[in-house]
């Protein structure tokens, strides 16, 4: 024999519990040691669940992808140049892009012969689907996915067609935002260099 109506009251006690926890758990957290970005601690948390953007930011995992960026070897604050750019205009990213939002114009030498550099590189941000296939398949580690999501604008015709100047970021920036991937890339290049050195030594 079940007393109907009790569940309604139980529902009320559960929400009252959430209400009280939203005040009291905050007090405990202020005195606790777990850092705000710790994902394990985050999910034990009752109480307020809000991340107060823009003053607080939800911790961004390294693999988070928004729009692509081109990498050049250099420091933050420097400008890219033909010597430091990594892109060889092989075109794989333009070919693998599902909505075909990448246009690459191969650079030409002074005589007019094509050289493995990008003369111009465009990405239409109003078409890009943030899939990351361009970064996944670039053989030269030249195009990577960036974390910057603060891209809202009031005008799009001129602003949202990114060109090669806007797209370039330095390796220092990339290493700072993607430490694990950068470490893997360095390790891979190191191993490759050693393998080549060993091969060169083997064959005189």
């Amino acid at each position: 024999m079940r007393l109907y109506g009790l569940e309604l009251l139980r529902g009320l006690t559960i929400t009252l519990g959430h209400f009280i926890a939203s005040y009291t758990v905050g007090i405990r957290r202020r005195f606790s040691r777990a850092p705000a970005g710790d994902p394990i601690a985050a999910q034990r948390r009752e109480g307020i669940f809000t991340v107060q953007y823009p003053e607080e930011q939800k911790p961004i995992p390294e693999r988070f992808r928004v729009l692509p960026v081109l990498i050049f070897d250099g420091k933050e604050g420097e400008r890219w140049s033909e010597n430091t750019e990594r892109c060889t205009a092989c075109g794989i990213c333009a070919k693998v892009c599902p909505p075909q939002c990448i246009w690459i114009e191969q650079a030409k030498s002074a005589e007019g012969k094509p050289v493995p550099k990008a003369g111009n590189f465009y990405i239409d941000a109003d078409v890009c689907m943030n899939c990351g296939l361009c970064a996944e398949f670039c053989p030269f580690d030249a195009i990577k996915m960036d974390h910057n999501f603060e891209l809202s604008v009031t005008e799009r015709t001129n602003t949202n067609l990114f060109d090669i100047n806007r797209l370039h970021v330095s390796t220092e920036y990339y290493a700072r935002t993607h430490p694990v991937a950068w470490g893997e890339e360095q390790a891979r290049k190191e191993a490759e260099a050693q393998r080549r050195a060993a091969a060169k030594k083997a064959t005189p």
Binding site: K58, P61, K95, W103, E105, Q106, V127, M129, F137, N160
Partner: protein
């Protein structure tokens, strides 16, 4: 006192004119300038959005209003259902041609001052679906947009940044320059018409001019090619049947003794050089085994086939889709109308010779991208700057809109209805969040006499774009089908194509796939339950508790794949990347500790709630025989007492290694579906515990990852048990690097066939609850 000059202004007058020119604004203007800060402050801190969401971006918009990101802090959580009380329209999702008239109407009804945020790539510029025949390349073709937010989808923090950009824009406005206080009344935007293509009446003259010329619209250079219909070997298990024999064969298969094929899993069509081939995939409910296929070929000129609706009623919507997109007529169909496009649309879009106005080439990779990749927006190549084309001699000013005919689905015949009934529209703009879905309901007093679902408002042309994509490119597009369950969609597509590729997936990848798929199931059911309660009016609290748990799973997805919703994680032969270092601990903590507690919590909070039970028990009953006949799938099928689950019927991946039960319920009502979902969440957690315990090391992909592959010729139907039901992919390969035919068997689409039956005789207030219990997603329903 200066001397008055007889001709010309006096010295005083000159001085006064100088002063007026350089120094003073009229006192009235000065006063208004002082009001500016207050006026702008009030407006920017109290922006009330319209309850209006189109597609995947709308999910992130809802998450922005949820507890983690909390748009309420900005004062913007009061989403108003009526446009007359809203200030902001956030266009979140792809704008389709079928939906644009509604959007413009809604915009017209909003009072000034009003703002538009175009959220996401699709709303800004068409996004990945830009070339679709039913897609408008950006809402700014019709509405004035204040802020654009790139991203696909933009994360909630990006939307908040967009809101802040709008606030900054408002801060800079002046009341003296405000157009809504200006002398000219802001005109109402003309509502576009749905004729042979979308008609923007502001371009009427130009359209008439172009249609009068013989070559007004550009002719493409390279056209798609057909292949002839491949031969069907006798031992392949596929039956090739003549059109005249179809009904006989169908009845025989349905009533045979050994494994009767009583369930129509999939019905679709392929356009070959010499014929249209309609394929039927049939299954036997409750008896494990692979689906059996029947193929029928009809001639290209005037294609006609008998309808199998009398045998398998679940064929209803699927045959309408084939009629709509291919033009194959099904004689004997009770309601053969277009289902995804609108009546009056010119052409059958999925035919190979139908080329969209933005058509660039038969298959990607488009040569214009590299090596001479001069950047162009495709609008620049089009005479109207839009994705539209009209027949020769078309004159928009003489065009008369076609009226809509009403045809109820199942049950009531219109003759029996009393004369004082009312036809009412529910949607496509809904306060409940199922997306742009419309129902036309004949109401007899308080009860529903008949109901007709109207879809196509989110028809984004996945299948046509899919035929142009390479095999790999389709993965991110599958993310956007059922945008809540992207991992599951990836899984289905991978399974289907791997049948043709014949590649063996490494053990670790199999386990990772299962883990992601089952986490998706938990995540989806949380969302479904939360929003069912929302439909019942529980003002968001259960929905927000559910979304909180979902956010934690999304954190894991973001950590592993790079995106919360559009994971793009699976590849042919495995997964894209291995788990990062911090993932296993989070996985273990979620699966062993947090999620079981959360499921128990939601169960305790809601399952016994008397109001919930009163509103859900006995409501929207789907009888057992009807569930199988209407090709229902997923929890809808299982709540009607049929224990059919693709993971047991045709085990894929490594599901045969796990111990789990298939929960069912007998009543088939809304409450039963709710209970089945809670039970399924517990079963998923069981599978997850086993999976993480057994997770082996090793490779995550077979062989080297290639960016372009050729798939051997042939066709395959691969299916998975997605949280909403059986998700199937029918792919036909001609041996090249892109599919010849790519069809999605969408569970949401086919589950809706039973909606009319479920709603009959119910109260109007229950219709939304019943829809919520089916759990549809429009990205999948309309593809």
């Amino acid at each position: 006192m200066a001397q008055t000059v007889l001709f010309g202004p006096s010295e005083e007058q000159v001085l006064e004119q100088e002063a007026r020119r350089h120094v003073a604004v009229l006192p009235w203007g000065k006063l208004l300038e002082m009001i500016d800060p207050v006026y702008n402050w009030g407006r920017r801190n109290s922006i009330w959005p319209l309850q209006f969401g189109l597609a995947c971006c709308a999910i992130e918009m809802i998450c922005t209003a949820a507890s983690r990101f909390d748009i309420a802090r900005f004062g913007a959580e009061l989403f108003r259902a009526s446009p007359r009380q809203a200030d902001l329209m956030i266009v979140s999702g792809t704008v389709t041609k079928k939906m644009v008239p509604m959007i413009v109407r809604l915009y017209n009804q909003m009072p000034e001052p009003r703002y538009v945020i175009s959220m996401g790539a699709c709303a800004s510029g068409g996004g990945p679906f830009k070339e679709g025949y039913n897609v408008v390349s950006g809402i700014d073709k019709f509405l004035p947009v204040d802020v654009y937010i790139p991203g696909c989808p933009p994360t909630p923090q990006a939307l908040l940044h967009g809101l802040m950009t709008l606030q900054k824009k408002i801060d800079g406005q002046k009341i003296t320059a405000a157009p809504w206080y200006g002398p000219a009344v802001t005109p109402e935007l003309p509502v576009p018409g749905l004729g042979p293509d979308l008609i923007d009446f502001r371009q009427s003259d130009r359209i008439r001019e172009l249609c009068a010329k013989p070559d007004g619209f550009p002719k493409p250079e390279v056209l798609p090619k057909w292949i002839p219909a491949p031969a069907v070997p006798a031992d392949s298990g596929v039956r090739l049947v003549e059109a005249g024999q179809l009904l006989e064969t169908a009845r025989a298969l349905r009533s045979r003794a050994e494994r009767p094929l009583d369930y129509l899993a999939n019905l679709t069509c392929t356009d070959y050089e010499d014929c249209f081939e309609v394929v039927y995939h049939l299954d036997s409910i409750g008896r494990p085994g692979k689906p059996e296929a029947i193929k029928v070929r009809v001639k290209k000129a005037g294609p006609e086939l008998p309808s199998v609706v009398p045998i398998w009623p679940g064929a209803d919507f699927q045959e309408r889709e084939v009629w709509d997109l291919y033009g194959v007529r099904f004689t004997g169909h009770p309601n053969l109308k277009r289902i995804l496009m609108w009546e009056g649309f010119e052409g059958h879009p999925m035919r190979k010779d139908y080329l969209e106005p933005y058509y660039e080439g038969p298959a990607k990779i488009f040569p214009s991208r590299w090596k001479e990749g001069k950047r162009t927006r495709v609008e620049e190549r089009n005479p109207l700057g839009r994705n539209v084309r009209y027949p020769a001699g078309f004159d928009p000013t003489r065009w008369v809109p076609q009226g809509e005919s009403f045809q109820p689905v199942t049950g009531a015949s219109l003759q029996k209805l009393k004369t004082d009934t009312l036809v009412v529209n529910l949607g496509p703009q809904h306060p409940s969040t199922h997306g742009v879905f419309r129902m036309r309901v004949v109401v007899d007093g308080e009860r529903v006499a008949a109901l007709e679902p109207v879809m196509g408002y989110m028809h984004r042309n996945h299948e046509k774009i899919g035929e142009r994509n390479t095999w790999l490119m389709n993965f991110p597009y599958t993310d956007r089908l059922d945008y809540l369950c992207s991992m599951g969609n990836n899984f289905g597509y991978a399974i289907a194509v791997e049948k043709l590729l014949g590649v063996k997936v490494p053990e670790r990848a199999e386990y990772l796939r299962v883990i992601m798929a089952e986490l998706t199931r938990v995540l989806n059911h949380f969302w479904a339950i939360g929003f069912l309660l929302n439909d019942l009016g529980a003002f968001f609290t259960p929905a927000l508790y559910a979304i909180k748990e979902r956010e934690l799973i999304l954190d894991l997805f973001e950590m592993v794949s790079g995106s919360r919703m559009m994971c793009n994680y699976m590849r042919f032969g495995g997964v894209a990347a291995d788990l990062p270092a911090e993932a296993p601990a989070l996985l273990a903590s979620l699966i062993r500790d947090r999620l079981p507690r959360a499921v128990d919590g939601i169960d305790r909070f809601l399952s016994g709630n008397e109001i919930l039970m009163r509103r859900c028990q006995g409501v929207g009953v789907l009888p057992r025989e009807a569930a199988a006949a209407f090709s229902a799938a997923g929890p809808v099928l299982r709540a009607s007492g049929i224990a059919h689950d693709v993971r047991r019927a045709e085990p894929y991946s490594i599901y045969d290694r796990f111990q789990f039960d298939i929960p069912t319920a007998e009543e088939g009502d809304v409450y039963a579906r709710y209970r089945v979902r809670i039970a399924e969440m517990r079963e998923s957690l069981k599978i997850l515990r086993q999976a993480i315990a057994e997770l082996p090391g090793g490779e995550v992909i077979a062989g080297k990852k290639l960016w372009n592959i050729r798939v051997p010729a042939g066709d395959a139907y691969g299916r998975v048990e997605n949280p909403k039901g059986e998700l199937g992919f029918y792919v036909v390969s001609d041996g090249t690097d892109h599919p010849y035919r790519y069809h999605v068997r969408a569970p949401s689409f086919i589950n809706l066939t039973a909606l009319g039956l479920m709603c009959q005789g119910e109260l109007v207030a229950d219709v939304v609850a019943i829809l919520g219990s089916i759990d549809i997603v429009l990205g999948e329903t309309d593809r």
